[in-house]
């Protein structure tokens, strides 16, 4: 065995309990990081996959991002113009030439587009009132921009054509209404139109927010319900390559002038939450490592003080300052490496434990148990962080050890 490693191990053996405590600290930091990261990344990528699977990759809305420039502002660009009592014009909302634009987008390579008219309404069944969103779709186009048909648990999309006023409800929504397939519910739109609609199908995407609040009907019927004949207020796009969404959305917005959101933007509140979640995870596990590093700093500092005679004798024998520094850095490194290995084991165990837990959660997405990302990268990252922290913690006292003047010690001991 390497001589310096041997000396370092000898020192650690004299501080067995402290070493064990610090090693445990490092192991806990690594283990928890690996497990928690697996859990959170697993959930997050599951959510993203779900989102990409069920919601439009790009959504063109009948809104503009920036309010139109008022003529007076255009006349005095950069001037201190203040407008008082400006009333927004009651424009006829909707995407102008909606269907033509759908056709235009649909022609793009790797892009499928479908028109939608969305509206808010109250659904009434028996004594229950539930507010819900209704999306007017053309089944033909919808099939190409979503997996709605696949997600249907009862009925088919084409059943919408089979009745006068057919509606497809999200599973959660149907449950809240207490309605089933074949039942007739009453829809009351914000435009004041009342329409009896027959439930021809149910769907379940797994995304709670959708399943609990969204319903589908034919575009024409929704236009009647919302009293907006021939209006389309959304264009939904599905891409062969989801990574193109953000760039393409910007180009569409520039071309059409309508607010166009990529799937990232539509879910930015959740994705933003993930960022916070990750920050919390990294700082918590980081804190454990910092505490462990303090422990290592403490051990090595103590050993340096205790072994100042040994340092002097090593130097008098012909070991130089760098050898001495290496001995003590090695002590941190050894604790870090051992903690890393134990932590990997611990992390693996925790992951397997989490994997064996079965339960139903209904947060953003429906899931029965933890989604776990068993990435090798997490092990590498946690291990590297542990080893670096441990080594740095040892390096500070090690430098002090390297500076010990043997004469001073030898003189004092004689």
């Amino acid at each position: 065995m390497n001589l310096l490693v041997e000396i370092a191990l000898g020192h650690l053996r004299t501080r067995r309990r402290q070493t064990l405590v610090s090693l445990t600290g490092v192991a806990l930091g690594v283990g928890f990081f690996v497990a928690v990261a697996a859990m959170m990344q697993g959930f997050q990528s599951y959510f993203v996959a779900k989102v990409i699977d069920v919601s439009p990759h790009i959504l063109v809305k009948d809104e503009v991002r920036v309010p139109p420039v008022q003529p007076v502002e255009a006349a005095y660009p950069g001037g201190a113009v203040r407008l008082l009592g400006l009333k927004p014009e009651e424009e006829l909302r909707g995407i102008k030439n909606g269907l033509a634009r759908v056709a235009e987008l649909d022609r793009l390579e790797g892009v499928a587009a479908a028109p939608v008219l969305s509206g808010q309404m109250i659904l009434r069944y028996g004594s229950r009132d539930v507010s819900a969103q209704i999306l007017g779709i053309e089944p033909e186009g919808q099939r190409r921009v979503s997996n709605l048909e696949r997600d249907m648990t009862a009925g088919e999309l084409d059943d919408l054509f089979a009745t006068a006023n057919g509606i497809v409800l999200g599973a959660g929504l149907a449950e809240r209404l207490g309605a089933e397939r074949g039942d007739t519910v009453t829809a009351l739109s914000t435009a004041g139109v009342v329409m009896n609609m027959k439930v021809v199908g149910l769907y379940e995407t797994g995304i709670t927010e959708m399943d609990n609040a969204q319903s589908y009907a034919l575009l024409k019927k929704v236009q009647v319900l919302e009293d907006r004949p021939n209006v389309v207020d959304q264009i939904r796009l599905r891409l062969a390559d989801v990574d193109r969404a953000e760039g393409l959305a910007r180009r569409i917005e520039q071309r059409f002038g309508y607010r166009t959101e990529s799937w990232q933007e539509q879910n930015q509140n959740v994705l933003g939450l993930f960022v916070v979640q990750n920050a919390i995870m990294y700082s918590t596990t980081g804190a454990i490592l910092v505490v462990a590093a303090f422990g290592i700093f403490n051990i090595v500092s103590t050993v340096v003080l205790e072994k100042v005679r040994d340092i002097a004798i090593l130097k008098s024998l012909g070991f130089d300052s760098r050898d001495v520094e290496r001995v003590f850095v090695m002590e941190g490194l050894l604790v870090g490496l051992a903690g890393m290995l134990v932590g990997w084991g611990l992390g693996w165990l925790l992951i397997e434990l989490l994997a064996s837990v079965r339960f139903d959660i209904e947060g953003f997405v429906k899931s029965e148990g933890f989604k776990l990302n068993r990435s090798f990268l997490n092990y590498a990252l946690a291990g590297a962080a542990a080893v670096v922290a441990a080594t740095l913690a040892a390096w500070l006292p090690a430098r002090k050890a390297a500076r010990v003047d043997p004469v001073e010690i030898v003189r004092g001991a004689a």
Binding site: T14, I313, L317, G318, D323, V407, V410, A414
Partner: protein, 249 residues
Amino acid sequence: MAPPESATTADPFAAAKPDTGPLLRAERATRVLSGPKAGAVPVTLVEDIDLTVGRGEFLAITGPSGSGKSSLLYLLGLLDRPTRGEVYLDGQPTRELSDAKRARLRLEKLGFVFQFHFLLPEFDSLHNVTLPLRKLGRLAARDIDARGLLLLRELGLEDCARKHPFQLSGGQRQRVAVARALANDPEAILADEPTGNLDTHNAATVFDIFAHLAGEHGRSVVVVTHDQDLAARCHRRVVLVDGRIVDQG
């Protein structure tokens, strides 16, 4: 430096080298301690030391307590740097050498024995003795242990090889420390009251070895001692008073 075959032959020390000038030479070497460690006034430990230690010379340094004997030994042993003047090892000036170079010279050419044994408590006797051998790394692992055992036997410690310092008597520890100082077959052995803790018999054993090294192998031995009988066995006695040499025998 021991050629490999000496690891297994009875005498662990190589033959004398041809005389190529004095091994150690101090030239007007002065050590002044200043700064926070010395207190308010700078302390002169040794002053204007002119001293030559030849190859094969067995030299005693004596003098009253506090006269600077240890300080001189640290200067000769490259453990400390002179504030003024120069210390030559093998004709090479050493004052301006880097710490690492001086450490290397200590490892290769010098062996220290202190009054306090300074063994590493985590290691057994054999490991303590072979520490300099392993650091130097010129022998194979097997030969290192063989040489370590040979040195221990030379000092009458063959039964102590696997014992740790706390299992040894004071005299045994001191002899292990002597064995360690001899590990790399140094050109010079510098000992600071090496027999202070030894009985007459063991003190004589250690001195016999020193005398043998100086006489048969041409090694230089510098010993600080209070023991006038032992000092009488040396080739030359240097007497220090108040940091200055007053008699060079």
